[in-house]
Symmetry: D3
Subunit: 130 residues, 6 copies
């Protein structure tokens, strides 16, 4: 398998999750770490997300849970709440995943996760997305 197959597969997987994400990552990193943009596309999306054995919706549930629990990556959490909704999770499911984290990472983590979800839902309402 050639390396550009990983990149293409990652690019397409990323597009499934968020239509603009590929371009955004490349733009935000082009002046400082262009290779890292390539890694982001190749490894997380080309290698890991593209694996069989777990559907994309379950992967996004796992990620929203983990980022809510860790509580130190607000921007990536919002990205993956969008992503989860884009691949078929309902808003209700997202809220349940985040509430579940109150048990495992504490109420502040869950409250901050719910704030992130509220912002994402507002952004989607404003642009007419479900």
């Amino acid at each position: 398998m050639k390396d550009n197959e990983r990149y293409e597969r990652g690019w397409n997987k990323l597009k499934e999750i968020d239509d603009k994400a590929g371009e955004n990552i490349i733009n935000s990193l082009k002046d400082i770490a262009p290779d890292f943009a390539r890694y982001v596309i190749e490894f997380p999306f080309g290698d890991v997300f593209s694996r069989p054995g777990l559907d994309l919706k379950s992967r996004e549930i796992a990620i929203v849970a983990a980022l809510t629990a860790m509580g130190n990556a607000a921007s990536q959490l919002k990205f993956h709440i969008h992503g989860a909704l884009n691949v078929g999770c309902t808003r209700k499911e997202i809220v349940e995943v985040i509430m579940q984290m109150a048990v495992y990472a504490g109420f502040p983590a869950a409250l901050n996760g719910l704030s992130a979800a509220k912002e994402v839902f507002k952004e989607r309402d404003d642009s007419g997305k479900s």
Copy 2:
């Protein structure tokens, strides 16, 4: 709703996840914090796990992901890998959830999560569980 309804509902939900867990929690806490055993049954299991809106399998995926990412609760991670398998996740799905965490919490977190999974799978092989 009476408080003992929350307890009963929690007890039954916990039994779905792990047959012996209720007794184990009560026994391990009876000398030091018996009220806390009651809270564990009432709030996480009676209130949160029992909510509609997200299936039990997805809840367990969220928890395995979060505990792998946090990396500081080995015993609870093993408990919920068992739980995830008991409510219908496959071993393959567990492994995928944990591998996904390499992207969000680093390779050491994923490697330690895979070690926990390996121990759980061995325990289940030894007692003839899938």
Copy 3:
């Protein structure tokens, strides 16, 4: 014990800590997770904070310490610095608790905790609170 006893006890305890907090929690969650607002009032405040065996001031010292050390819940830290002062801690005691965290969670955690305290003290000066 009925469930609404837990809610009432939690509501009253929360009022002791911060006069407006109950309403604020309900308002901020009403569109996204109204049940979670109820849980916040019932479990942390109705069950845990209301327990005998540890005075409210010591509970708030414990919380300010933990949130300073975790370093990922700025808004909740500010809430509990207000809360600690409302239930009888002095500003000096708050500062000592936060400085103590330099030893256990590092100087950045303590410096960020002191920034939060500085903001809280300013808010209280501006509204004439001690």
Copy 4:
């Protein structure tokens, strides 16, 4: 103030918290980082713990809370549960502090904190300490 005043003050403060701790720290670090043993005595104990403005019991409550919440320093948590008891906290107060952490850092953190407390209480029972 001379530097050895900080050391002496720290040594005495440490002795108040745990009679053998000073020797243990020096012994465990003597082959690898003897200066670090000196720092431990001078800065945390000579500078911070010895400050007026917060009683020793409240400092230990803050530390037990923080170490329970962080969940990655089991040996230091046990040391400070001993310390808290040595400076006047009751076992009941320790249990309450740790249970309070379920709200702020999740149930696994509190359960692991209670396990640590249980070990400490057992050690003290075995050696006839309260």
Copy 5:
């Protein structure tokens, strides 16, 4: 050794890392915790940073790595990216250190570290620093 020797040594070391840092720390803490400003200068800079056995550039690499991985101290991370550049690291080396953290603490930690670096590089471009 007198205590003011530690302070002076710390002050000079801090000046090597960032010309204005000493004044800034004193100013930001003077109303709330002036002793803590003194501790910051004495212990981290007077005691630890001033030790032989590891060059200043390697110390700053270690700190940028740790703060990127922890992900909860954005302002201190930016300070130490400046510091690392001031004591001889190249921008390229900083970027490599942060990218390396994707492996140990996850991609979000590395992406947030790169954002911090981008802001620092921009600030230095604007003020004509390398």
Copy 6:
């Protein structure tokens, strides 16, 4: 570039850091997640560690710092203390890196890091390594 070039490069880089590590990773994961063993070799070692722009010694200093600060990956910390020594760090430098973490992640993190270092140094003494 073909994918097996990444694997070969990673394998060789890993051998520089630890002679047996490649085999150990493959063996420990072969029953549970053989693809993950391949990813470990390809991405961290084939892509990231193999980049120019930062020498291997500085990479290992960054990793020892980060794992000490995070405090939840004891086995990986020991692996990278060995690795740092294998690529040219002195024991003294390792000790300095870990002590530096007391400032950024607290004294317990540094003390636990020093314990890990002590075990590693003992293992190397026993097998005649520097």
